[in-house]
Every structure is written in structure tokens, then in C-alpha cells.
């Protein structure tokens, strides 16, 4: 087992443990912290997969943006007087059955498909930021512009919806 494998297993265990903490934690702030570490773990896996640009974007967008936004949501909706901290698990048994079904299907697909349909790339690291920027400005220019307009519209809409007294 090489160092690469050890690091992969460490990051995988870290990510899964944080995600599990997020789901089972009764305290919503603990959930947010679990999600934070889970995002960091996924960023680490991205680094192992030679996706350096995406790892940085993951930390910037998810940890720096989405999680902060979620924490703002927590602080805006969890007043001291609020009793929403409880976590009813009403449909626990059907949920477990459905989730087990999904996982079994995923596991069987992963196990029974032969994924090595392309010869493996030689293990050398090439920085991806330049290539991704080039692709975004050439092949994916139209989706890039559309998604930027979508983001602008979503942000304006969010500001409008969250405004007081409309």
C-alpha cells in the first residue's frame, strides 16, 4: 500500500465521517461544521484526482460561499426561542429501506461494470487551470455565458425574495 493509497483512504474516511456527523447531529451548527469538513475532504480527493483547479474552486465556492450562506441561514432562522432544534425522524424505517435499495443498486452497478474501457492515462500531473480556462472560452463559451446570466438572475431573485415587507 503506497502513500497515495493511505492518503486516499484517510481522506475518504474523513469525508464520510464528517458527512455522517452532518446527518446525525442534533445541533444544526454541528451539522454545518460536519458539512465544512466533508467539503474539505472532497477537495482533498480532487487533489488526488489531479484536479487542482477544481479543488481550489471547491474550497472557495463551497466552503467560502455556500457554507457561509448556509450559516447565515442558520443564524437568521434559529432564534433562541425557536424549538426547531429537535429532529423528528418520523419515516425512519421507510427511509432506511429506500436508502438501502439505492445503495444496493449503486453498489451493484459499480461492481458489475467494467470501467477500464480506455487505456489508463500515464500518471503525470499537468496543471488544469489553463486548459479549463481555454475550454471555457472556446468550446463551452455559450454554456458559460448562460450560466453566468443564470447566476445573476438567481442572486437578484434571492435578494428580492428575502427582502422584508414585499
Amino acid at each position: 500500500m503506497s502513500l497515495f493509497d493511505v492518503i486516499f483512504y484517510l481522506f475518504a474516511a474523513f469525508t464520510l465521517a464528517s458527512a455522517a456527523l452532518m446527518v446525525v447531529s442534533k445541533n444544526i451548527v454541528h451539522s454545518a461544521v460536519g458539512l465544512l469538513f466533508s467539503f474539505f475532504g472532497v477537495a482533498g480527493i480532487y487533489v488526488l484526482l489531479a484536479a487542482d483547479f477544481l479543488a481550489v474552486v471547491q474550497v472557495l465556492v463551497y466552503v467560502g460561499g455556500i457554507l457561509i450562506l448556509l450559516l447565515f441561514g442558520v443564524m437568521l432562522t434559529q432564534r433562541i426561542t425557536s424549538v426547531d432544534m429537535r429532529t423528528g425522524t418520523l419515516q425512519l424505517v421507510p427511509a432506511i429501506l429506500a436508502v438501502a435499495g439505492i445503495f444496493v443498486i449503486l453498489f451493484r452497478v459499480i461492481r458489475t461494470t467494467s470501467w477500464n474501457i480506455v487505456p489508463e492515462a500515464e500518471a503525470q500531473f499537468i496543471p488544469t487551470a489553463e486548459k479549463i480556462g481555454y475550454l471555457l472560452m472556446t468550446d463551452f463559451l455559450i454554456p458559460f455565458e448562460i450560466v453566468s446570466v443564470l447566476l445573476l438572475a438567481a442572486l437578484i431573485g434571492a435578494a428580492f425574495i428575502a427582502r422584508k415587507g414585499t
Binding site: S2, I45, Y46, L76, T77, D84, G88, I110, L150
Partner: protein
């Protein structure tokens, strides 16, 4: 690639399953939201793993777009949650039933 791609897919599958558990069992709308983010992350992980496997950057571009849509989704969703909290003083998804008759 030292680690076979099926390991990454398995990790992603477990992560996705944890997200489904969160969506199905938690009652707090914000935690449901976090679980959805977790599922998006799991799918992103799959795309990056395939991108590495096929030695092509298209998967990473796709992840980039998924991240943008996730950011938009979280902004609008949290605005909705804040608006509903202002209206109903709760974010429990059992109590938000004003769309039901």
C-alpha cells in the same frame, strides 16, 4: 492510477447515500439543504473521477457548471427559507404545508 476508479465511485455512492438519508430523515429545512449539497458533491466527485479516467477535461468543466448551479440554488433556497421563517416562524418541513389543501 493507483486507486481503481471503482473505489472513487464507491466513495461517491456512499456519500450520495448519506445525503439521501439526510433528506429523508431530517425535519429541519436547512439540514435538508445541506444534504442536497452533499449529494451534489458526491456527483461532482464521480464526474471528476471519470474525467481522470478518460483523460479528458470535459468532466471537470461539467463540475464547474454544477457548482455554479449549486450556488444559485443555495442562494434562492435560503431566501425562500428565510421568507418562510418570517411567515411561519418555523423551518420544520412538517409545518410548512401552506401549499397543501
Amino acid at each position: 492510477m493507483e486507486i481503481p476508479i471503482s473505489y472513487y465511485l464507491l466513495l461517491s455512492g456512499i456519500l450520495f447515500t448519506i445525503g439521501v438519508v439526510g433528506v429523508l430523515t431530517r425535519r429541519n429545512a436547512i439540514v435538508v439543504f445541506m444534504s442536497i449539497e452533499l449529494m451534489l458533491n458526491a456527483v461532482n466527485l464521480t464526474l471528476v473521477a471519470f474525467s481522470k479516467q478518460f483523460n479528458s477535461l470535459d468532466g471537470q468543466i461539467f463540475v464547474f457548471f454544477v457548482m455554479v448551479v449549486a450556488a444559485a440554488e443555495v442562494a434562492v433556497g435560503l431566501a425562500l427559507i428565510v421568507a418562510i421563517f418570517r411567515l411561519k416562524q418555523t423551518v420544520s418541513i412538517d409545518k410548512i404545508n401552506i401549499m397543501k389543501w
